[in-house]
């Protein structure tokens, strides 16, 4: 399924860095999200758009991950040629990721 089915997201910007939160609708899905949505996968998803490293921070009690992507905004909000200079749309794009639920419980359901 797509990440969109189990999580929501918002993007923020500072200089040339974008941060994307990924937040579970249901706390019970957080383990799955944390396992599937790694910094490497996010880096791969945004290949070509993000030139720097991708870091992941975890807030398990909120069911949330925070991805910090350096070099994501074409030189920064204030001088970028991009239509979406703030990278506001990136948060919607991350929800397109496919996540695979392999637990027996979900397979049975």
């Amino acid at each position: 399924m797509r990440l969109r089915e189990i999580a929501h997201s918002r993007t923020g910007d500072k200089g040339d860095t974008s941060n994307i939160s990924v937040i579970a609708f249901d706390q019970n899905d957080f383990a799955l999200i944390a396992r599937e949505v790694t910094a490497d996968r996010v880096n791969e998803h945004f290949k070509g758009l993000v030139t720097g490293e991708v870091l992941r921070y975890e807030l398990p009690q909120l069911g949330a991950l925070n991805f910090v992507m350096r070099g994501a905004l074409r030189g920064g909000v204030t001088r970028s040629l991009a239509l979406d200079a703030h990278g506001k749309c990136l948060g919607s794009a991350i929800l397109d990721l496919e996540v695979y639920d392999t637990t027996a419980e979900h397979l049975a359901g």
Partner: protein, 446 residues
């Protein structure tokens, strides 16, 4: 336990006006905060100030104040805002003029100065974080340098009886932390409370972004009545924990989900949210729904501040020229791509010196690029966007002209051409020791 009620009246310069009036009239507020200063706004305001000594503050200041001051005066709601931008003194004068016009007496208006550190940054030739170069490398392109002031001067202005506090550049959460420090008498080394107060400020500073604005996704995240979105109220206790809510009958929603999205908005390491007054720690924050449109946020923390203030340095970067034109019907995408090729070649033939260019099809590949977005087979409408960066305005204009001239010289059926040029004020940053920055407070009564 004493509770302070803070509302947000605006989360950006162009925000809606009526939600603030609602809050002033019905919010039973102690403070109403307007956060209106984006990263580069102050550099643009500085340019306006150079042209006119009475300019340089937020263009909507007077309209906002005219709308909310009668209720704030009647109900004792005190106002904090960064709408002073590059000229808090002129902004305070303008607010006093509105008070006189409305016949409201006995209100003390404070201007907070000292964020303008251009002289310090020049004389110390500070190093730019992004480039590693000294500020002097910007030469005559340097426009402005403004330090993010903390909550201290705002709290002090309130301590001295100000009803309206107008700052230039201040850290956005400090606009909320200042009233809390004033109201609860928090010590400026009480890192835990300052950290929790920073969480409060961070949650509230974007106004409707925590009450259901910037959240709706039909079928997945539905939010009622966004046309009547209510702005947030924070009910803060003396330990700095907060219940976020909004006025009954307004649109929007306050839920754990809306609060979580805003908590992480523009955050990097949640353990180290660096502010002028404290390093706030969001990692232990707990979020709990306590009623309809009521969410309790606890567990924030903080540790000692860095002693350095972030400074936004504004400079004239470049000019951007842009043109757009639409194609529709069968073959729209192919004609759009041909148009991009033609413009790129025309700029070469005519020798327009562009440092970089982008040609793209809006609706096809302009936001996420061809790989993530370019999978739609044959759109029946595309809009070409071609944009280029130049050193001179007249060269930037030639980019848009080349798009416009596709009308008679380009692919079949181009329509709705538009062009623009704009000067780009860039923002970079540096750090200045706080003891090199001297905030001032100037209070006058009307």
């Amino acid at each position: 336990m004493k509770t302070v009620r803070i509302g947000t009246g605006a989360g950006f310069s162009g925000d809606r006006i009526e939600p603030a009036v609602d809050l002033a009239e019905k919010g039973d507020l102690d403070f109403l905060v307007f956060e209106c200063l984006a990263e580069r706004t102050i550099a643009l305001a500085q340019q306006a100030l150079l042209r006119d000594p009475n300019a340089g503050y937020d263009p909507m200041l007077v309209a906002r104040m005219r709308a909310v001051l009668p209720a704030c005066h009647a109900r004792g709601v005190r106002i904090v805002t960064n709408m002073g931008a590059a000229n808090p003194f002129a902004a305070a004068d303008a607010v006093r003029a509105v008070l006189r016009e409305l016949g409201l007496h006995g209100m003390r208006v404070a201007a907070v100065s000292g964020d303008d550190v251009l002289a310090e940054v020049k004389s110390g030739n500070y190093r730019i974080d992004e480039t590693g170069q000294p500020v002097s490398a910007l030469g005559s392109k340097l426009i402005s340098a403004n330090a993010y002031l903390g909550a201290g001067p705002i709290a002090l202005a309130l301590d001295r009886g100000a009803h309206i506090v107008i700052t230039g550049r201040a850290a956005d959460p400090a606009l909320f932390l200042g009233p809390l420090v004033h109201a609860f008498g928090w010590a400026m080394d009480d890192w835990g409370r300052l950290g929790r107060g920073t969480v409060v400020g961070h949650l509230l500073e974007c106004a409707g972004q925590i009450t259901g604005g910037y959240f709706a996704d039909p079928g997945y995240k539905d939010i009622p009545d966004l046309a009547r979105l209510g702005f947030p109220i924070g009910e803060v206790d003396e330990d700095g924990n907060v219940t976020v809510t909004k006025l009954p009958g307004t649109g929007g929603a306050v839920t754990p989900a809306t609060v979580k999205e805003q908590l992480l908005y523009e955050i990097h390491d949640p353990r180290r949210y660096i502010q002028p007054d404290v390093i706030a720690d969001f990692s232990g924050v707990r979020i709990e729904e306590t009623g309809p449109d009521k969410v309790r946020v606890t567990g924030g923390d903080g540790c000692a501040k860095t002693g350095l203030l972030k400074v936004s340095v504004g400079y004239i970067d470049s000019y951007i020229g842009e043109g757009q034109i639409s194609y529709a019907g069968p073959g729209a995408m192919e004609r759009g791509r041909l148009a991009i090729e033609i413009v790129a070649e025309r700029l070469k033939i005519t020798g327009v010196p562009c440092a970089e260019t982008r040609g793209e099809l809006i609706g096809v590949d302009s936001i996420l690029g061809a790989r993530l977005s370019g999978n739609c087979s044959a759109p029946r409408e595309v809009r070409v966007r071609f944009v280029g960066r130049t050193d001179r305005r007249e060269d930037a204009a030639r980019v848009g002209n080349e798009v416009e001239s596709l009308y008679l010289n380009g692919p079949a059926g181009g329509g709705g051409a538009a062009k623009s040029t704009r000067e780009i004020v860039g923002i970079v940053s540096t750090l200045v020791p706080e003891n090199r920055v001297s905030p001032g407070i100037h209070i006058q009564e009307t």
